[in-house]
Symmetry: C2
Subunit: 121 residues, 2 copies
Amino acid sequence: MRKRKKTYSCGLEAALAVTGGRWKFLILWVLSHQGTKRFGELRRAVTGISEKMLIQELKELELDGIIGRKDFKEVPPRVEYSLTALGIELGEATQPLCDWGAKNIERISGQPMQVEPAMAS
Amino acid sequence: MRKRKKTYSCGLEAALAVTGGRWKFLILWVLSHQGTKRFGELRRAVTGISEKMLIQELKELELDGIIGRKDFKEVPPRVEYSLTALGIELGEATQPLCDWGAKNIERISGQPMQVEPAMAS
DNA sequence: TATAGTACATACCTTTTGGTATGTGGCCGT
DNA sequence: ACGGCCACATACCAAAAGGTATGTACTATA
Protein backbone atom coordinates (compact mmCIF):
# COMPACT_ATOMS: atom_id res chain seq x y z
CA MET A 1 0.00 0.00 0.00
CA ARG A 2 1.00 3.57 -0.55
CA LYS A 3 1.52 5.77 2.40
CA ARG A 4 0.15 9.22 2.01
CA LYS A 5 -0.12 12.09 4.41
CA LYS A 6 -3.66 12.56 5.67
CA THR A 7 -3.63 16.31 5.90
CA TYR A 8 -2.07 19.00 3.78
CA SER A 9 -1.11 22.53 4.66
CA CYS A 10 -2.24 23.90 1.33
CA GLY A 11 -3.44 22.76 -2.06
CA LEU A 12 0.07 22.92 -3.37
CA GLU A 13 1.29 20.32 -0.94
CA ALA A 14 -1.58 18.10 -2.00
CA ALA A 15 -0.80 18.57 -5.68
CA LEU A 16 2.82 17.68 -5.03
CA ALA A 17 1.77 14.46 -3.33
CA VAL A 18 0.38 13.40 -6.69
CA THR A 19 2.98 14.88 -9.01
CA GLY A 20 6.08 14.42 -6.86
CA GLY A 21 9.19 12.66 -8.02
CA ARG A 22 11.38 13.31 -10.97
CA TRP A 23 9.25 11.96 -13.80
CA LYS A 24 5.54 12.39 -13.18
CA PHE A 25 5.35 15.96 -14.37
CA LEU A 26 7.15 14.97 -17.54
CA ILE A 27 4.92 11.98 -18.23
CA LEU A 28 1.98 14.28 -17.70
CA TRP A 29 3.47 16.79 -20.08
CA VAL A 30 3.84 14.23 -22.85
CA LEU A 31 0.32 12.87 -22.45
CA SER A 32 -1.05 16.39 -22.24
CA HIS A 33 0.70 17.68 -25.33
CA GLN A 34 0.91 14.56 -27.46
CA GLY A 35 -2.19 12.64 -26.42
CA THR A 36 -2.67 8.91 -25.91
CA LYS A 37 0.50 6.85 -26.04
CA ARG A 38 1.57 3.24 -25.76
CA PHE A 39 4.07 2.13 -23.15
CA GLY A 40 6.96 1.95 -25.59
CA GLU A 41 6.10 5.31 -27.08
CA LEU A 42 6.14 6.90 -23.65
CA ARG A 43 9.49 5.35 -22.89
CA ARG A 44 10.92 6.93 -25.99
CA ALA A 45 9.14 10.23 -25.43
CA VAL A 46 10.24 10.77 -21.84
CA THR A 47 13.94 11.19 -22.39
CA GLY A 48 16.13 9.31 -19.95
CA ILE A 49 13.49 7.44 -17.97
CA SER A 50 14.08 3.78 -17.18
CA GLU A 51 11.47 1.08 -17.71
CA LYS A 52 11.24 0.47 -13.99
CA MET A 53 10.46 4.09 -13.24
CA LEU A 54 7.98 4.38 -16.07
CA ILE A 55 6.06 1.32 -14.88
CA GLN A 56 6.08 2.59 -11.32
CA GLU A 57 5.02 6.15 -12.07
CA LEU A 58 2.31 5.05 -14.48
CA LYS A 59 0.89 2.77 -11.84
CA GLU A 60 0.80 5.52 -9.25
CA LEU A 61 -0.70 8.06 -11.62
CA GLU A 62 -3.38 5.53 -12.48
CA LEU A 63 -4.13 4.90 -8.81
CA ASP A 64 -4.46 8.64 -8.31
CA GLY A 65 -6.92 8.86 -11.16
CA ILE A 66 -4.71 11.06 -13.31
CA ILE A 67 -4.28 8.65 -16.21
CA GLY A 68 -6.28 5.81 -17.66
CA ARG A 69 -4.88 2.50 -18.88
CA LYS A 70 -6.36 0.48 -21.70
CA ASP A 71 -5.10 -3.05 -22.22
CA PHE A 72 -6.02 -4.44 -25.66
CA LYS A 73 -5.23 -7.99 -24.54
CA GLU A 74 -3.34 -8.59 -27.73
CA VAL A 75 -0.17 -10.49 -28.44
CA PRO A 76 2.31 -8.90 -28.60
CA PRO A 77 1.01 -6.75 -25.73
CA ARG A 78 -0.64 -3.47 -26.54
CA VAL A 79 -1.50 -0.98 -23.82
CA GLU A 80 -2.49 2.62 -24.18
CA TYR A 81 -2.23 5.40 -21.63
CA SER A 82 -4.19 8.62 -21.67
CA LEU A 83 -5.21 11.42 -19.33
CA THR A 84 -8.46 11.29 -17.39
CA ALA A 85 -10.57 14.43 -16.97
CA LEU A 86 -8.72 15.03 -13.71
CA GLY A 87 -5.41 14.57 -15.50
CA ILE A 88 -6.35 17.03 -18.18
CA GLU A 89 -7.13 19.65 -15.55
CA LEU A 90 -3.83 18.94 -13.86
CA GLY A 91 -2.03 19.35 -17.17
CA GLU A 92 -3.67 22.70 -17.67
CA ALA A 93 -2.76 23.81 -14.16
CA THR A 94 0.82 22.94 -14.95
CA GLN A 95 1.00 25.01 -18.10
CA PRO A 96 1.94 28.35 -16.45
CA LEU A 97 4.84 26.64 -14.72
CA CYS A 98 5.93 25.25 -18.05
CA ASP A 99 5.71 28.70 -19.62
CA TRP A 100 7.67 30.25 -16.78
CA GLY A 101 10.41 27.71 -17.29
CA ALA A 102 10.54 28.27 -21.01
CA LYS A 103 10.79 32.01 -20.57
CA ASN A 104 13.33 32.15 -17.81
CA ILE A 105 15.55 29.17 -18.25
CA GLU A 106 18.35 30.98 -20.01
CA ARG A 107 18.64 33.30 -17.07
CA ILE A 108 18.77 30.39 -14.69
CA SER A 109 20.94 27.80 -16.33
CA GLY A 110 23.11 30.22 -18.24
CA GLN A 111 22.32 28.07 -21.25
CA PRO A 112 19.79 28.58 -24.00
CA MET A 113 16.97 26.10 -23.95
CA GLN A 114 17.16 23.31 -26.47
CA VAL A 115 14.34 21.09 -27.52
CA GLU A 116 15.53 17.55 -28.01
CA PRO A 117 14.09 15.66 -30.98
CA ALA A 118 12.28 13.05 -28.90
CA MET A 119 10.31 15.68 -26.99
CA ALA A 120 9.65 18.02 -29.88
CA SER A 121 6.13 17.91 -31.16
CA MET B 1 29.42 23.28 -7.22
CA ARG B 2 25.94 22.41 -8.33
CA LYS B 3 25.51 20.17 -11.25
CA ARG B 4 22.72 21.12 -13.54
CA LYS B 5 21.63 19.71 -16.84
CA LYS B 6 22.61 21.94 -19.71
CA THR B 7 19.61 21.27 -21.90
CA TYR B 8 15.97 20.77 -21.13
CA SER B 9 13.30 19.02 -23.11
CA CYS B 10 10.68 21.59 -22.24
CA GLY B 11 10.12 24.58 -20.01
CA LEU B 12 8.57 22.35 -17.40
CA GLU B 13 11.76 20.36 -16.98
CA ALA B 14 13.63 23.62 -16.56
CA ALA B 15 11.20 24.91 -13.97
CA LEU B 16 11.51 21.66 -12.06
CA ALA B 17 15.29 22.05 -11.99
CA VAL B 18 14.71 25.17 -9.91
CA THR B 19 11.75 24.05 -7.82
CA GLY B 20 12.62 20.39 -7.39
CA GLY B 21 12.85 18.71 -4.04
CA ARG B 22 10.35 18.41 -1.30
CA TRP B 23 10.45 21.86 0.22
CA LYS B 24 11.17 24.54 -2.37
CA PHE B 25 7.62 24.86 -3.59
CA LEU B 26 6.44 25.22 -0.01
CA ILE B 27 9.03 27.85 0.89
CA LEU B 28 7.98 29.67 -2.23
CA TRP B 29 4.38 29.39 -1.22
CA VAL B 30 5.00 30.94 2.18
CA LEU B 31 7.05 33.83 0.83
CA SER B 32 4.52 34.36 -1.92
CA HIS B 33 1.49 34.42 0.36
CA GLN B 34 2.96 35.82 3.54
CA GLY B 35 5.73 38.09 2.27
CA THR B 36 9.19 38.72 3.68
CA LYS B 37 10.20 36.44 6.52
CA ARG B 38 13.14 35.88 8.83
CA PHE B 39 14.90 32.53 9.00
CA GLY B 40 13.22 31.51 12.21
CA GLU B 41 9.82 32.57 10.97
CA LEU B 42 10.25 30.46 7.87
CA ARG B 43 11.26 27.48 9.94
CA ARG B 44 8.03 27.77 11.89
CA ALA B 45 5.93 28.51 8.80
CA VAL B 46 7.09 25.55 6.72
CA THR B 47 5.69 22.74 8.78
CA GLY B 48 8.09 19.87 9.32
CA ILE B 49 11.20 21.21 7.65
CA SER B 50 14.54 20.77 9.41
CA GLU B 51 17.05 23.58 9.82
CA LYS B 52 19.52 21.86 7.55
CA MET B 53 17.05 21.57 4.72
CA LEU B 54 15.86 25.14 5.12
CA ILE B 55 19.41 26.50 4.97
CA GLN B 56 20.16 24.36 1.93
CA GLU B 57 17.04 25.16 -0.02
CA LEU B 58 17.25 28.87 0.75
CA LYS B 59 20.82 28.92 -0.53
CA GLU B 60 19.86 27.22 -3.77
CA LEU B 61 16.84 29.41 -4.33
CA GLU B 62 19.06 32.44 -3.79
CA LEU B 63 21.62 31.15 -6.29
CA ASP B 64 18.82 30.66 -8.79
CA GLY B 65 17.68 34.23 -8.31
CA ILE B 66 14.29 33.27 -6.90
CA ILE B 67 14.71 34.78 -3.47
CA GLY B 68 16.75 37.64 -2.03
CA ARG B 69 18.59 37.56 1.29
CA LYS B 70 19.14 40.58 3.45
CA ASP B 71 21.57 40.30 6.32
CA PHE B 72 21.17 43.10 8.86
CA LYS B 73 24.55 42.32 10.40
CA GLU B 74 23.04 42.57 13.82
CA VAL B 75 23.69 40.62 16.93
CA PRO B 76 21.84 38.44 17.52
CA PRO B 77 21.70 37.66 13.77
CA ARG B 78 18.82 39.04 11.76
CA VAL B 79 18.29 37.91 8.19
CA GLU B 80 15.29 38.46 5.97
CA TYR B 81 14.23 36.48 2.95
CA SER B 82 11.92 37.70 0.23
CA LEU B 83 10.99 36.90 -3.36
CA THR B 84 12.76 38.57 -6.27
CA ALA B 85 10.79 39.66 -9.34
CA LEU B 86 11.57 36.28 -10.86
CA GLY B 87 10.38 34.58 -7.70
CA ILE B 88 7.13 36.50 -7.72
CA GLU B 89 6.45 35.36 -11.28
CA LEU B 90 7.24 31.79 -10.29
CA GLY B 91 4.85 32.03 -7.39
CA GLU B 92 2.12 33.23 -9.71
CA ALA B 93 2.83 30.42 -12.16
CA THR B 94 2.42 27.98 -9.31
CA GLN B 95 -0.96 29.26 -8.24
CA PRO B 96 -3.06 27.14 -10.65
CA LEU B 97 -1.34 24.03 -9.38
CA CYS B 98 -2.13 25.10 -5.86
CA ASP B 99 -5.77 25.67 -6.81
CA TRP B 100 -5.98 22.31 -8.52
CA GLY B 101 -4.68 20.64 -5.39
CA ALA B 102 -7.12 22.47 -3.16
CA LYS B 103 -10.06 21.51 -5.37
CA ASN B 104 -9.25 17.88 -5.92
CA ILE B 105 -7.49 16.70 -2.84
CA GLU B 106 -10.47 15.06 -1.24
CA ARG B 107 -10.89 12.93 -4.31
CA ILE B 108 -7.27 11.93 -4.24
CA SER B 109 -6.44 11.35 -0.63
CA GLY B 110 -9.88 10.27 0.43
CA GLN B 111 -9.52 12.81 3.21
CA PRO B 112 -10.85 16.33 3.45
CA MET B 113 -8.19 18.98 3.32
CA GLN B 114 -7.22 20.56 6.59
CA VAL B 115 -5.34 23.79 7.01
CA GLU B 116 -2.91 23.58 9.89
CA PRO B 117 -2.59 26.66 12.10
CA ALA B 118 1.03 27.39 11.19
CA MET B 119 0.27 27.56 7.49
CA ALA B 120 -3.06 29.29 7.68
CA SER B 121 -2.98 32.89 6.61
C1' DT C 1 16.51 -22.64 -34.72
C1' DA C 2 17.33 -18.17 -33.40
C1' DT C 3 16.25 -13.46 -32.69
C1' DA C 4 13.40 -9.48 -31.96
C1' DG C 5 9.43 -6.93 -30.21
C1' DT C 6 5.96 -6.01 -26.46
C1' DA C 7 4.70 -4.78 -21.63
C1' DC C 8 5.74 -5.71 -17.85
C1' DA C 9 8.15 -7.84 -12.89
C1' DT C 10 11.88 -8.23 -9.76
C1' DA C 11 16.43 -8.59 -7.42
C1' DC C 12 20.31 -6.01 -6.45
C1' DC C 13 22.99 -2.10 -5.97
C1' DT C 14 24.33 2.95 -5.99
C1' DT C 15 23.11 7.61 -5.45
C1' DT C 16 20.52 11.05 -3.57
C1' DT C 17 17.84 12.93 -0.08
C1' DG C 18 16.85 14.10 4.33
C1' DG C 19 17.05 13.82 9.48
C1' DT C 20 19.54 14.21 14.15
C1' DA C 21 22.90 15.89 16.88
C1' DT C 22 26.26 18.99 17.78
C1' DG C 23 29.23 23.17 17.28
C1' DT C 24 30.07 28.40 16.54
C1' DG C 25 30.13 33.46 17.50
C1' DG C 26 28.81 37.33 19.98
C1' DC C 27 25.69 39.93 22.80
C1' DC C 28 22.24 40.11 26.45
C1' DG C 29 19.88 39.15 30.83
C1' DT C 30 20.49 37.15 35.49
C1' DA D 1 30.05 33.35 35.03
C1' DC D 2 26.47 31.15 32.72
C1' DG D 3 22.96 30.04 29.75
C1' DG D 4 19.96 31.68 26.02
C1' DC D 5 19.07 33.59 21.56
C1' DC D 6 19.71 33.57 16.50
C1' DA D 7 21.37 32.08 12.03
C1' DC D 8 23.90 29.33 10.48
C1' DA D 9 27.67 24.96 9.55
C1' DT D 10 28.85 20.22 9.57
C1' DA D 11 29.48 15.25 10.56
C1' DC D 12 27.14 11.20 10.64
C1' DC D 13 23.58 8.01 9.65
C1' DA D 14 18.99 6.13 7.77
C1' DA D 15 15.72 6.02 4.26
C1' DA D 16 14.11 6.70 -0.19
C1' DA D 17 14.72 7.16 -4.94
C1' DG D 18 16.35 5.46 -8.93
C1' DG D 19 19.38 2.65 -12.18
C1' DT D 20 21.03 -1.93 -14.27
C1' DA D 21 20.44 -6.44 -15.36
C1' DT D 22 17.69 -10.17 -15.93
C1' DG D 23 13.46 -12.89 -16.49
C1' DT D 24 8.56 -13.88 -18.45
C1' DA D 25 5.02 -15.17 -22.06
C1' DC D 26 3.87 -15.22 -26.58
C1' DT D 27 4.20 -14.20 -31.55
C1' DA D 28 6.31 -12.99 -35.79
C1' DT D 29 10.06 -12.99 -38.72
C1' DA D 30 14.51 -14.63 -40.75
